[in-house]
């Protein structure tokens, strides 16, 4: 007997054991699911029933009462989202417009956010949690479509599935099929990960999604009581959350250019997929302490270490190395948007000047202060908006052909590496106690041999390296320096993916 049939049988058997009153309650639940999912295709509705059945069986198997199961796995948590037709559509924000244009069968700008729990993930409950989360993010419940001038996101109400991790992180998400989503939720042991195609959101938006998913999951898993986080998950989506903030906050200032000098790249044979992932899970206090020794911030300190490690990973003796540092524009403008609203600054160092941490941290701090100002960011926003405005009447097929060539030619050659710092992530205490740490992976390397990212949760700051080369020099240099600097860390990672 197949597993699916067996499960179906299990639920029917369970129903037979219930008394009349309980059976009535279960029947009421399924009637409510039917009402709340009336706009889902029949197949998706059947999957939704299955999710509730599996969750109820999990509660039973874990000796929890049916009353508890019905309280937490309540159809009310689906809201009215699936009972309304998919009429919405969303134009892509200015930053997102380039991603589908530059899309290739082996290249997609993706990133991944993960949470490590203290217990192994229960897939049945994670699936239900995802069903409950989607309603809060209508902008994510969409599928990418081609317009005549630009791509756009078309609302698509469907059953979104979680799956066990079975492919290399940040490999392209299959978005071509009709109604396919631009994100995926995967789990492995105690880790829940969400991978996003950048058209949907930036790191901030993605983190709000992951946090909401975690709140829903942990509430189901540990039968937690309602609180502010739960209210956030269940509130109606705020209009500004899907706004194009670039358009809203564009100022009449002179635009800055996106072009820059070609940067020195690390050596090593490049590969076009993540070759290895390495996470340095650092003790936040010791990291801060080390950064304070140089009177710098954690970001500037890590950038300095990265420059030294990069120098150790290349044989080139002259030229400039550059690290791209994305900046969350919400720090400058009070936008509630969950779309892309990040710009970046480029921290550059001449190879000759990459000598000691002292001099580097001082110079990087200075550069960050100069480049990360609101005025500079205004100019970049103006550039992005002006560029998009200029191209708006050119047919998409033409734009795609040109952009692919330009992107392929220029790509990420103007910088040698990236450091994306999501900063500290906070969860309400009743949820935080079940979460061990978080990590953040960038999957956008073309020429760059590595991309780095940082996110902290509690007292753990996770610095992740996505290695795009067979040469392990950069990661081992990083490890050597962090050890020498007496930063306490645990090293985790992946096997090599050939």
């Amino acid at each position: 007997m197949s597993r699916k049939k067996k499960k179906q049988g299990d639920f029917n058997l369970y129903l037979q054991t219930l008394n009349e009153q309980d059976a009535k309650e279960v029947k009421r639940l399924f009637t409510e699911i039917d009402q709340r999912c009336c706009h889902l295709p029949k197949k998706d509705r059947a999957l939704m029933y299955k999710d509730f059945e599996n969750a109820i069986l999990w509660y039973k198997d874990n000796n929890l009462s049916l009353e508890t199961a019905l309280k937490y796995a309540s159809a009310k948590n689906l809201g009215g989202f699936f009972s309304r037709p998919s009429l919405l559509w969303f134009a892509l924000d200015d930053a997102a417009k380039i991603y589908p244009i530059a899309l290739k069968s082996n290249f997609m700008a993706t990133f991944r956010l993960s949470a490590y729990l203290k217990d192994d993930v229960v897939p049945q409950l994670l699936q239900l949690a995802l069903n409950f989360t989607v309603k809060r993010f209508p902008h994510f419940a969409t599928t990418l479509k081609k317009g005549f001038f630009w791509h756009y996101l078309n609302a698509r109400k469907r059953h979104y599935s979680v799956s066990i991790e079975d492919r290399v992180p940040c490999t392209p998400i299959r978005i071509a099929a009709s109604g396919a989503p631009a994100f995926r939720v995967v789990y492995y042991k105690n880790r829940i990960s969400v991978e996003f195609f950048h058209v949907l959101c930036d790191g901030y938006g993605g983190m709000q999604f992951l946090k909401s998913l975690l709140v829903n999951y942990l509430r189901l898993r540990y039968q937690l009581e309602d609180d502010n986080a739960w209210d956030y998950v269940n509130q109606s989506p705020v209009a500004g959350e899907s706004e194009n903030a670039f358009e809203k906050y564009r100022k009449r200032v002179s635009a800055s250019g996106f072009l820059d000098k070609i940067a020195v790249q690390m050596n090593g044979k490049p590969v076009n997929h993540p070759y290895r992932l390495i996470h340095f899970k650092m003790d936040m206090n010791s990291l801060k302490e080390a950064a304070h020794r140089y009177n710098s911030t954690v970001t500037a300190y890590l950038l300095a270490i990265m420059f030294i490690a990069q120098k150790g990973a290349t044989d080139v003796q002259s030229g400039e190395m550059a690290i791209q540092v994305p900046l969350n524009m919400r720090k400058f403008y009070p936008s509630p948007t969950l779309n892309n609203f990040s710009m970046y600054m480029m921290v550059r160092e001449n190879i000759d000047n990459i000598t000691s941490l002292e001099s580097l941290t001082e110079d990087i701090t200075k550069q960050m202060k100069e480049k990360g100002t609101a005025e500079n960011m205004d100019r970049m926003v103006a550039s992005a908006s002006r560029f998009v405005h200029m191209l708006r009447f050119i047919p998409l097929s033409l734009k795609t052909a040109v952009a692919r060539q330009v992107y392929g030619f220029l790509g990420d050659k103007v910088f040698s590496n990236t450091l994306s710092n999501l900063g500290p992530v906070e969860l309400e205490p009743q949820y935080a106690k079940y979460v061990e740490s978080m990590d953040f992976i960038l999957g956008t390397g073309i020429t760059n041999r590595a991309c780095c990212s940082l996110v902290s949760f509690g007292n753990t700051a996770t610095f992740s390296i996505t290695q795009y080369t067979t040469d392990p020099s950069f990661a081992s240099e990083m490890e050597k320096i962090l050890t020498k600097e007496k930063v306490e860390f645990v090293k985790e990672g992946s096997p090599i993916w050939k």
Binding site: S105, K146, G147, I175, S494
Partner: protein, 192 residues
């Protein structure tokens, strides 16, 4: 320091084999196209290499460069018809004249008919994909009408019939979808 593996051991790098296959076939096609140009230049007229090059381009676009966004049955049929028309046109222009204006409208009208049937059999599933067929129907209605008014004989007849088929399909789309049809067009042509 020892590294703890926190990822499954046998993760697949899906699509990698397919990518290599595509690259190999693309290379072979390129070689074929270049060789045909060289041979044709040495043999002189007729310029059959144009047909080879257009066919290579069509095969490459249809089989080796899959749609990365919005791949659906209607879109596939439209692409197939467009590239088939291109190949037919190149044959008509270089190898044998006089039949292309007769055959191409039939190919286009046939495709529009198939797309319309697909739409009618699965209106809910195809309503967001029908836009490309509607655009083709609109272009064909106008183009074949012009052909009908300017050509003579069997070409005029086939142009007239195909223009009618295209116009009917356009009417079917608008009457079935009503406001959805215009809503879809607003999305497709947005410049925001």
């Amino acid at each position: 320091m020892e590294m703890k593996n926190v990822y499954p051991d046998n993760l697949k790098n899906k699509g990698r084999g397919l990518l290599i296959t595509r690259k190999v076939f693309t290379f072979i096609l390129w070689i074929g196209a270049i060789a045909s140009v060289i041979v044709n230049l040495s043999t002189g007229k007729p310029w059959w290499c144009a047909v080879v090059c257009v066919s290579v381009f069509a095969v490459h676009r249809l089989l080796l460069s899959p749609q990365l966004v919005e791949r659906n049955m209607i879109g596939l049929f439209i692409n197939l018809a467009s590239y088939a028309s291109l190949v037919l046109l190149s044959i008509g222009l270089t190898l044998s004249e006089g039949w292309d204006l007769f055959v191409i409208p039939i190919v286009c009208a046939g495709t529009i008919l198939v797309c319309t049937l697909l739409f009618l059999f699965d209106t809910e599933g195809q309503k967001n994909s029908v836009h490309s067929s509607a655009v083709l129907s609109f272009i064909c209605t106008i183009a074949f009408m012009i052909g009908f008014l300017n050509l003579q004989g069997r070409d005029r007849l086939v142009m007239g019939i195909c223009s009618l088929v295209s116009a009917v399909s356009l009417i079917v789309y608008t009457s079935v979808l009503r406001t959805d049809f215009f809503r879809e067009f607003k999305r497709r042509f947005h410049v925001k």
